[in-house]
């Protein structure tokens, strides 16, 4: 996370991939009524929150308490927005075993709705990294933009996504 906050994209990617299975277990254990796709939506919301609030982690503090506090807040929030109350203690995260990755696609629906509301070019940039496995430089070359412009566009698009999702669930 320290590296991530200093702009190390690879380390950050590793961290997000490492925490996701644990978060998925916690969300699924509480959201059996939402279905796997609904749970994945909640999980994606939590990941977006971790991303947009990553600078509120103080580098001299342990990461876990921060991470669990953010995740817990967002899980409770997301379930409340879907009309459910969940009780969730911090220990739930510490005790959770990572979810087994099944053959089912870890797909969420909300994100597609939000991406559809985004400007096409912005949505394409957000999709470019995962779907096409591109780097910033490759996306920039394909879309005939500068690398800096791609970075700014991605940053703005993610901010808009967070805002749109909030409006969607209100």
């Amino acid at each position: 996370m320290r590296a991530a906050n200093r702009g190390d994209s690879v380390a950050y990617h590793r961290l997000l991939r490492a925490i996701t299975p644990v978060l998925r277990t916690v969300v699924r254990a509480r959201g059996s009524g939402l279905g796997p796709e609904g749970c994945e939506d909640v999980l994606q919301e939590v990941l977006l929150a971790i991303h947009t609030k990553r600078h509120t982690w103080m580098e001299d503090a342990p990461l876990r308490p921060w991470l669990y506090a953010i995740a817990r807040h967002k899980v409770v929030d997301a379930f409340r927005a879907r009309g459910r109350r969940v009780e969730l203690s911090i220990d739930a995260f510490a005790d959770a075993l990572p979810a087994v990755e099944g053959p089912d696609p870890m797909d969420g629906r909300d994100m597609d709705t939000v991406l559809g509301a985004l400007e096409p070019r912005a949505a394409e940039i957000v999709r470019a990294f995962g779907l096409n496995g591109e780097t910033t430089a490759e996306t920039a070359a394909r879309l005939d933009m500068s690398e800096g412009a791609v970075r700014v566009a991605l940053h703005r698009a993610l901010k808009t996504i967070v805002r749109l999702r909030q409006r969607m669930i209100e």
């Binding site: 991530a4 906050n5 702009g7 190390d8 994209s9 690879v10 950050y12 990617h13 997000l16 991939r17 996701t20 998925r24 994945e40 999980l43 994606q44 990941l47 977006l48 929150a49 991303h51 947009t52 609030k53 990553r54 600078h55 509120t56 982690w57 103080m58 503090a61 342990p62 308490p65 921060w66 506090a69 953010i70 807040h73 696609p105 870890m106 797909d107 969420g108 994100m111 597609d112 991406l115 957000v126 999709r127 470019a128 990294f129 995962g130 779907l131 496995g133 780097t135 910033t136 970075r151 700014v152 991605l154 940053h155 993610l158 909030q166």
Partner: protein, 210 residues
């Protein structure tokens, strides 16, 4: 969209974000400047300001500034999950208890008639209106900074931010106010500052949501 694809997009977004303290240092001086200019234009310092600041009356400025420090530290801790807030909350409680017992002490000495005569002055309304007005730009900047944080209890964070803005405004206003009686200053300033804490507590859940 698959979660793995989202993660890839998040990881690629490496633009640094402004932290709460960076936003504080950017916005707070501007807001204080605005309030100070408004103060100089519409209020102005009391004529005997030099004498007053050399006397006990300087406490009217110093104590609100102590409050600003303590409530600012508390708001900062509450906006950063994982930071411990208990000590800071206790420090604020000690200050409040100290002020309350000082008030009780003076009240016991001078009685209720002393209190009513101290408050029976047009300065009371001026104080209760001026401090919130002077605090508004500051409150705006404090909320803007705190919204970069991750408030788990937005009502508390908002209230702490309100205390901070109210304290700063009270410190500015004290340079104008020529009422130095403890039985005026303690209740009037406290009430004005608490108005701000209340506004902050109401606005917090709405403005500090994430």
């Amino acid at each position: 969209m698959k979660t793995d694809d989202l993660i890839a997009a998040l990881a690629a977004d490496t633009l640094p974000q402004k932290s709460v303290s960076q936003r504080f240092w950017r916005a707070l001086p501007v807001a204080i400047g605005l309030s100070a200019i408004a103060f100089l234009v519409f209020w102005g310092p009391r004529p005997d300001i030099r004498v007053a600041l050399g006397s006990v009356a300087a406490l009217k400025t110093i104590l609100p500034l102590v409050l600003v420090l303590l409530s600012g530290l508390l708001a900062f801790a509450l906006a950063h999950p994982g930071l411990r807030a208990q000590t800071r909350r206790a420090a604020l409680g000690i200050l409040a208890a100290g002020l309350a017992s000082a008030f009780a002490l003076v009240l016991a000495r001078e009685g209720f008639s002393g209190l009513t005569s101290a408050l029976a002055t047009p300065s009371l309304m001026v104080c209760l209106l001026s401090i919130p007005v002077l605090a508004l730009p500051i409150l705006g900047s404090v909320f803007w900074a705190l919204s970069a944080g991750a408030a788990l209890h937005p009502r508390q964070v908002g209230a702490a931010g309100g205390l901070m803005a109210g304290g700063l405004a009270a410190a500015i206003y004290s340079l104008y106010c020529d009422q130095d009686a403890a039985l005026f200053v303690l209740p009037a300033y406290s009430a004005a500052i608490l108005i701000l804490a209340f506004i902050g507590a109401v606005a917090g859940p709405r403005l500090l949501k994430w």
